[in-house]
Amino acid sequence: MIKVQNLCKSYKNSRVLSDINLHVQRGEIFGIVGQSGAGKSTLLRCINGLESFESGKVIVNDTDIAGLNETAMRQFRRKIGMIFQNFALLNRKTVLDNVMLPMECWHYPQVERRKKAEELLALVGLADKLGSLPHELSGGQKQRVAIARALTLEPDILLCDEATSALDPAITQSILELLRDVNRQMGITILMVTHDMAVIKTICTRMAIITGNRIATTGRVSDVFLAEPAELRELVGYKEIYAPAGRSLLRVALRESVGGPASLYELFAFLKGDFSIVSANIEQFESESYGLLYLHVAAEQLEQTVHCCQQHGIECSAYSPESPARGNG
């Protein structure tokens, strides 16, 4: 659906994106995370041609966007909706007029415009706000209007640029549910850029982490969180837990598919009671959830314990709270 190959971009002398490779499949919700200034938004804008780039390829629906002239580019953008952090509504137009604007630009007949806009506003739950002006709405409602506007031209893809970053958690949740509905019911592929891990965990099936202008990790969200690579730790921070002298910390993950209580029992039996649980919780993702356990064991038993876990299909690794990338400094 969306293929980005070896994309490079600079502003004047500074690199913004280097050697980006990305493949988003039809119908999925793909999340891109990274610190601010990492180039996430720029990447998103390269995909619908709002930003140009020096080298590499962007192919959307088998169209190489580099070869498009201005008219073809406008036509191409028609099929890609976009929403923004600050909603980007016209303050002087009513909700209805805002939603009708894209159709006005594409010369839809007046009657059709109105019908479609009313339908979409009902879909996003704002059927009673047609005549309101944006400043009369809350942040969540404004984003709903923006979503309705982005859907008017029946796009295949929806790009979300920090779409929930200006909203509080409860509202964020409701917007995410709306986006999930849009994804499932209309089959629209969603590519979202965010710095909020909760957003990624809640609705994305796959994710990519951008650090230092390049993609550091790509994969299924639950896999990435399970593997917890250095770049993910840098983003979410690390768990401040320490083992007492002579003990070693262990991070144990129990997936529904392989782990389960039986294999956990095997592990505890192996340790013969010589362990203590420092932290335990259930991590929930869009597609699966798994148990995550931090425990400490005798330092000399660490290696054997890891081995035991592997035998029983439990994913486990030695854990130190310092981020691996930062070392011990």
Binding site: R77, L90, L153
Partner: protein, 225 residues
């Protein structure tokens, strides 16, 4: 007594000199503002489109037009009136009178209007432009359906300021034979030592300023909602 009411000819002149003068001041102001707005809008669209922050940056066009606009703006209105009198005569057949004054006043007004409008257009939130681009709006659709819509209140307040500024300029035009309130204040008031006459006209101008400001604010409020 400071004002000598006994010697003033204010009341005598009121119907036949002052009232027509109000009329010709308004005519000069109205036509120079309307023409200035038409030309100014075209120039503002060119400037805002070609600006480095515009929809289609083009530094060559932007600098050339910007240079011309700045040059005209540097002329004091009274010099402009004298300087372009041959052009005025060619255009309207005379270089004296209110019709003639409209030409230099328009010429002086359009760059001011263009600059105010350019600033208003460039102030519109970048994200709204990005959003319009993202659904495939063309540059001219963005300019006229998005930027002008969003910038309208700011354009209105710029126009109010410009209109008041040029009310003062029409009185200057009076000094070089255009007629209007400026000429009356000067010839019948100042030069005849008729202070009451002179200040009466200042008061009339003051009321006109208040009226323009009031109307401007009313329109602003209307479009802001």
């Amino acid at each position: 007594m400071f004002f000598n009411l006994a010697n003033t000819r204010l009341f005598e002149y009121l119907p036949e000199i002052i009232l027509p003068a109000i009329g010709s001041t308004l005519v000069m102001l109205f036509f120079s503002m309307v023409l200035g707005l038409v030309i100014g809008t075209i120039v503002a669209v060119v400037l805002a489109t070609t600006s480095p922050f515009g929809l289609k940056p083009n530094s060559k066009i932007n600098k050339t037009v910007g240079f011309a606009v700045n040059m005209i703006r540097s002329f004091p209105v009274i010099i402009l009136i004298v300087a372009i009198s041959p052009v005025t005569r060619a255009l309207v057949g005379t270089s004296i009178g209110e019709k003639a004054a409209i030409v230099p006043l328009t010429l002086a007004a359009f760059p001011v209007i263009a600059r105010y409008m350019e600033a208003s257009l460039l102030e519109v939130d970048r994200n709204v432009i990005l959003a319009a681009r993202s659904f495939g709006a063309s540059n001219s659709q963005i300019m006229f359906k998005v930027l002008f819509t969003e910038a309208l209140p700011s354009i209105v307040s710029g126009l109010t300021t410009t209109t008041i500024l040029f009310l003062a300029s029409t009185t200057l035009a009076g000094a070089v034979g255009a007629g209007g309130l400026g000429a009356v204040a000067l010839t019948f008031g100042y030069q005849r030592f008729d202070d009451v006459m002179m200040y009466a006209i200042v008061i009339i101008l003051f009321v006109m300023v208040l009226a323009i400001q009031g109307i401007g604010e009313l329109i602003y409020k209307k479009v802001k909602e």
